[in-house]
């Protein structure tokens, strides 16, 4: 293995095209990856996390925080924003500087890899999992002068579960050491994760600083899209409202909302003539919603061949006759 190979994707021969018209511009803005500088509708949560981390950094103590919420409610984005503004503050020397490390449970092959990644990001050395755990243990328990606070973000916490739970235990135990100066922010989907899968000594170390992200309401979703579009006039008001109401009724997932809007712009672009680019109206949005939400089972049955349909009829007849939900093939 080349030891210090810098991983990269080869670059393309000519740069990607810039968006040409209003709809393309809107689509680029609506892509989930283009995270805006400030997240609308999450001001309260932002403030809470900010205060928590800031106070820990100022005091030079450590602590844990548990953040939960269904996917697509802006947990990771909010935490990143907090860190960004804290780093900005540190540059202005309003608060002491700090390290920021991020690990993601899904991006590891094994929970014990967490140690390796943390160590690598802290000190840039490679080690096996056991060795890394020992090194980290030493680092966090020994007192050292002028030690910076470390903020550790653990995403997808539930995947760090092992049978003995020692990875989680260590993660939550280090902040309680006197010299550690470690702030751990953990993110997971379910609210009752600590009670459900953690044994008592782990749950008690996690502490009671909890925060839960509620699913977005339709007003918030609407506001998110409007702020994303940022005065690019591509959508009718009613169309936006329909999308946000539908998504809010189902899941409150902002990712879904943005995807639907993006699809609607595509439909609009295809239905319109060349050159004349209109607004995205109700009909386009309806079509996109249908495409993404509707289940295709009925269409599939309708398209099945005669013999397959007869088979389904036979199954139904057998069900009516016996009242059982399972039937053997012979019947």
């Amino acid at each position: 293995t080349p030891r210090h190979a810098t991983p990269s994707i080869p670059s393309r021969s000519l740069p990607a095209r810039k968006p040409g018209n209003v709809l393309e511009e809107a689509r680029a803005r609506l892509h989930v990856s283009s995270v805006p500088d400030s997240l609308p509708c999450r001001e309260q949560e932002f403030q809470d996390i900010y205060n928590f981390v800031e106070s820990k950094i100022m005091d030079g103590t450590g602590g844990c925080m548990y953040i939960s919420g269904v996917p697509g409610t802006g947990k990771t984005a909010t935490v990143h924003e907090v860190i960004r503004s804290l780093q900005h503050a540190a540059e202005q020397e309003e608060i002491p500087s700090f390290h920021f490390i991020e690990i993601n449970g899904m991006k590891m092959t094994d929970p014990h890899q967490a140690y390796v990644q943390i160590l690598q990001k802290l000190t840039d050395q490679k080690a096996t999992a056991d060795h890394a755990a020992a090194l980290l243990e030493k680092r966090f328990s020994a007192p050292a002068p002028k030690k910076e606070t470390t903020v550790l973000l653990v995403d997808e916490l539930d995947l760090l579960w092992t049978r003995k739970q020692n990875v989680m235990y260590n993660l939550f135990d280090w902040p309680t050491r006197r010299h550690a100066r470690l702030v751990v922010l953990t993110i997971a989907n379910t609210m009752d994760l600590p009670e459900r899968i953690m044994i008592n000594r782990v749950a008690s170390r996690l502490g009671l600083t909890r925060m839960s992200f509620q699913p977005y309401t339709f007003k918030q979703l609407q506001q998110i899209i409007t702020s994303r579009l940022n005065r690019v006039k591509a959508f009718e008001e009613d169309a936006l409202q329909l999308v946000s109401r539908k998504v809010a009724a189902l899941s409150g997932d902002a990712r879904r909302c943005l995807d639907i809007c993006r699809r609607a712009t595509e439909i609009c672009e295809h239905s319109g003539q060349k050159g004349a680019v209109g607004l995205v109206g109700m009909s386009h949005v309806m079509e996109a919603l249908d495409e993404m939400f509707s289940s295709s089972y009925i269409a599939a049955i309708r398209c099945a061949s005669l013999q397959e349909q007869l088979f389904l009829r036979a199954v139904i007849a057998e069900f009516r006759r016996l009242g059982l939900e399972e039937a053997t093939f012979q019947q």
Binding site: P7, P15, A16, S33, P71, K107, V116, A299, C303, S305
Partner: protein, 416 residues
Amino acid sequence: MTAVGPPCSSESSFMSPSMNAFLSEYDHMTWLKYIYDRTVHIMSKRKSREKHLTVGECVSQVQRVLRERFCHQRLPDKPVGLESQYKHLLELLRRTAVHGESNSVLIIGPRGSGKTMLLRCALRELLELQEVKTNILQVHLSGLLQTDDRIALREITRQLQLENVVGDKVFGSFAENLVFLLDALKKGDKSSSRPVFFILDEFDLFAHHKNQTLLYNLLDVSQSAQAPVAVVGLTCRLDVLELLEKRVKSRFSHRQIHLLSSLTISQYRDAFRAELTLQDDFPDSKFSQEWNLDISKLCEDKSVDEILQKHYNSSKDFRSLHSLLLLAVSRVSVSSPTLRAVDLLEASRMSSADSKGNILHGLSILELCLIISMKHLNDIYEGEPFNFQMVHNEFKKFLQRKSHSIHNFEKPVVFK
């Protein structure tokens, strides 16, 4: 020759993903193109040498052309009946290639409904653009070959030719590989790095991997500001979204392209005619005209129509039609150079043969007697299980009462 038919067609469908893996280096499309060019080349050479071929040569040419069409699933010039889906997919891939927009899409359809064909057609058309051809990287994965994330990851690293690849070997452990790949993708950005197409054949099998790590990471890349990727999944399961974990599902963009064949019987007939018709580039034009005339006559035949109707009712996909036609075409020989309705009838009989009935035909008298006594037992006791002793008793009763001691075998013989 006829017996070669079904295994051959199944082999071709089985081979295609593995070929993907092997040939990805050379790029599958160019490979197909190469074969196509070569056949055209050979054909034109033949044409220049002699205008009229003998009947035998013509027949072997027909066999070759049609067999290639049915077995190797050569790409048609345009996907038939799937125009809107094709347009959607093409537009999506084009945007990833040209604008650097990350996308994810699932192509869902029953087996043999032309998912791979659609995708390959779209890729072929895309690669004709010079701008696209020099820019994109393709990664082909199949759920049947890459049975876990470790193998899949190795394959991705190899196909992308990342820096930890030496020759064809990928170094480093599974965890290191994953970190390496993610770092590589994170380094990229929207406008400057080359877009990557991830094509996941048998997508539903990837959802059975542990924690769905690979899917999560691929979709997460497609949802964040990293190197532009397009994740295209091909699957035949309608409920594939229910297999995904919640966080994986949230990252998927919920674009689905359904390929449901809404073929009517008349379209099916047209497809039948088109599949058998010879193209203009056939070396002997007189023979091909006659052949095509015969085919159109054949299409109006009553008995052929009945066969088609029967096959249409049992299944609508093209693969079963292909295997039927392959059986029929392989009966064309020098002595009977045209395709007749009888051939089709024979092929249909062969493809719809009852395999269990055939096995029963080959049994000895004693075995048949035993089966009959089993049938008796089943009728009397209505589905109760039975053992050898009961069957033997039944058989002995039959011997005592009716038969004239011809089948009076010893018990060990019966047991055997």
